[in-house]
Symmetry: C2
Subunit: 254 residues, 2 copies
DNA sequence: ATATAATATGACCTTATGGTCACATGACCA
DNA sequence: TGGTCATGTGACCATAAGGTCATATTATAT
C-alpha cells in the first residue's frame, strides 16, 4: 500500500496554532473585561514574572481550588491591594497562566520538525508526544500547575474548563480523521473512541512525566535518556498494537 | 494452542480478598489507636450510617482536602463534640469509608462468577471490569468519593494513599503474571508496563462511569445497556489489539 | 437511690480565607 | 508649584475552617 507524502503536520500545526490570534488580541486591545486588568500588563517585566512565578508555584502545589491568594501575594512581594488591582480573582490568574502555557508551547513547537518527514499518523503522534515531553521539561512547574488543575480538578468542576479541553481535542480529531482516511486506523474504531484512547495515553504520559520526572535532578536529561525514551516507545507501541500476543508474535517465539 | 483449564479466578479472588482479615480484625478487637474510635462502633446502626452517608456525600462532592467536618456534622445531626469523640479527624473518617468500600466490594464479588469458565486472562479482565461496573452502580456515591480522593488527590498527596493503591496493584500483578506464563501477553511487554496499561484503563473506565453514569436517571440500567457494554468491549478490545489497522485487518477490508 | 462511667453538646479558640477601602505614594502635565 | 490620575498599601471585614473543653445528659452497676 502506497502512502501519499505525509502532511498531517500542517493541519495539526494549524489546529494547535489556532489560539494564537486570540492571545495577541488580548494584549494589543484595550478590552475592559478581559482579565487580567490592563494595570497588570503595564507592570515592569520583572515584577510581572515575579507574580506569575509565585502563582505558578502555588497552583502547582495546591491546585486551583486550594490555591491561596494570600500566599501568592506573600511570595511575590506585592500588597493585597495590588493583587486585586491586577486580577479579578485567582481564576483570573489561572487563566493567564493557561495563556502563558499556550503561548510558550506554540513558540516551542514553532521551529520544531520531525526529523523524517514521511511519518504516518502514529509515528507523528509519537513525535508529538516526545516533543511535548521536551517542552514539558523546559518548564515543569508551569506544566504541573496546568495539568493538575485541568486533569484533576477539571474532572469534577467540569464546565469551567471545558473550553481548554476542547482545544486539544480538536487537534487530536484532525489527526485521527487523517489516520482513518489513510486507513491506518482499525476500522472498527470510531472517532469518539479513538479520541478517548489517545487522550488517555497523552494524559497518562504527562502524569508519568510529572510523577517520575520531578524526582530527577536534571529533568531534561531524564526525558532524553534512552530508558525514558524506550518507555514512551513501548507504551505507544502498546497503544498501536495492543497488549495481547498475536498469532504472528506467537509464531515468532514458538 | 491448547489452554489448560482456566483458574485465574482463584488466585485473583484471593488477592482481592486478602484485606478481609484485617477488616474483621478491626471490628472484633478493642484496639486503642485503630480509628475510628470504639465509641463510633457502639452507636446504633442507623445513626452510624447517617454519619457515614453524610461523610460519603461530602467526600464525593469535595474530595478529602476540601471536605468540611463542619458540613459533615451539620448533615448528620450530630454535634461537633461527638464527631471528635468518634473520629480523630477527617482522614480518619475517610479511612473508614475506604474500609466500607473494600468490605462491600468483597461481599459483592463473593458470589459472582464468570458465566463461562474457560476464560483467558483478557476475557477474565473484561469480566472483572464489567462486574466492577455493576458494583459501582450499586453505590455510586461511595465509589465517587473514593475514586475522587484516590485517583485525583492521591496523585499529588501521594504517600498517604500508597497503601491503598498497592492493594489493587497486587491483584493485577497476579493476573498479569498468569497471562505471561500462558503466553497470552505480548512478550515485549514487561510487568511494570502491563500494570500501567491495565491500571490506566481501569481508571479511565471508572472515570467514564462516574462522568457519564451520574448523569443518568437509572445508572444500573445505563451500565447494563447494550450501548454501554459495547463501549466497554470496544475499549478493552483496543487495549488488547491496539488502535492500528494491522495487515490482516487491511486485507479483510481491502 | 446513688455513684460512676460513657456519651452528648455547643460556645469558644485560633488561624486562615477572599475581598474591600480609605488613604499614601509616585508620575506626569499645566 | 499645584493638580490629576495611575499605582501601591495594609488595616480591616465577614466567613469558615479545624479543634478543645467545661458542662449537661444518659446508662449502668451497686
Amino acid at each position: 500500500m502506497r502512502r501519499g507524502s505525509l502532511r498531517p503536520k500542517n493541519e495539526i500545526a494549524s489546529a494547535i496554532k489556532l489560539p494564537r490570534k486570540i492571545i495577541t488580541y488580548r494584549f494589543t486591545t484595550t478590552q475592559k473585561n478581559i482579565m487580567p486588568k490592563q494595570t497588570f500588563f503595564n507592570l515592569p517585566d520583572e515584577k510581572r514574572s515575579q507574580i506569575m512565578d509565585a502563582a505558578i508555584d502555588e497552583f502547582a502545589e495546591y491546585g486551583l481550588e486550594n490555591a491561596s491568594t494570600n500566599r501568592i501575594i506573600a511570595n511575590s512581594n506585592i500588597s493585597k491591594g495590588s493583587f486585586y488591582q491586577y486580577f479579578e480573582d485567582k481564576q483570573d490568574v489561572f487563566d493567564h497562566v493557561m495563556t502563558m502555557l499556550t503561548e510558550e508551547k506554540i513558540a516551542f513547537f514553532e521551529d520544531k520538525q520531525p526529523s523524517k518527514n514521511n511519518l504516518d499518523t502514529f509515528e507523528y503522534y509519537r513525535w508529538l508526544i516526545k516533543t511535548g515531553m521536551e517542552f514539558n521539561s523546559t518548564n515543569p512547574s508551569l506544566v504541573q500547575a496546568i495539568t493538575r488543575v485541568l486533569l484533576v480538578e477539571g474532572q469534577y468542576y467540569g464546565k469551567h474548563f471545558e473550553k481548554y479541553r476542547e482545544q486539544s481535542t480538536q487537534a487530536l480529531k484532525v489527526m485521527i480523521e487523517q489516520a482513518m482516511q489513510r486507513g491506518e486506523m482499525d476500522p472498527s474504531v470510531d472517532m469518539e473512541l479513538a479520541i478517548m484512547v489517545m487522550e488517555t495515553w497523552n494524559n497518562a504520559l504527562v502524569s508519568y512525566f510529572l510523577k517520575e520526572g520531578l524526582k530527577q535532578d536534571d529533568i531534561m536529561l531524564w526525558v532524553r535518556s534512552p530508558e525514558t525514551q524506550e518507555k514512551i516507545d513501548k507504551l505507544l507501541y502498546i497503544m498501536e498494537y495492543g497488549l495481547r500476543k498475536t498469532e504472528s508474535q506467537f509464531e515468532a517465539t514458538a
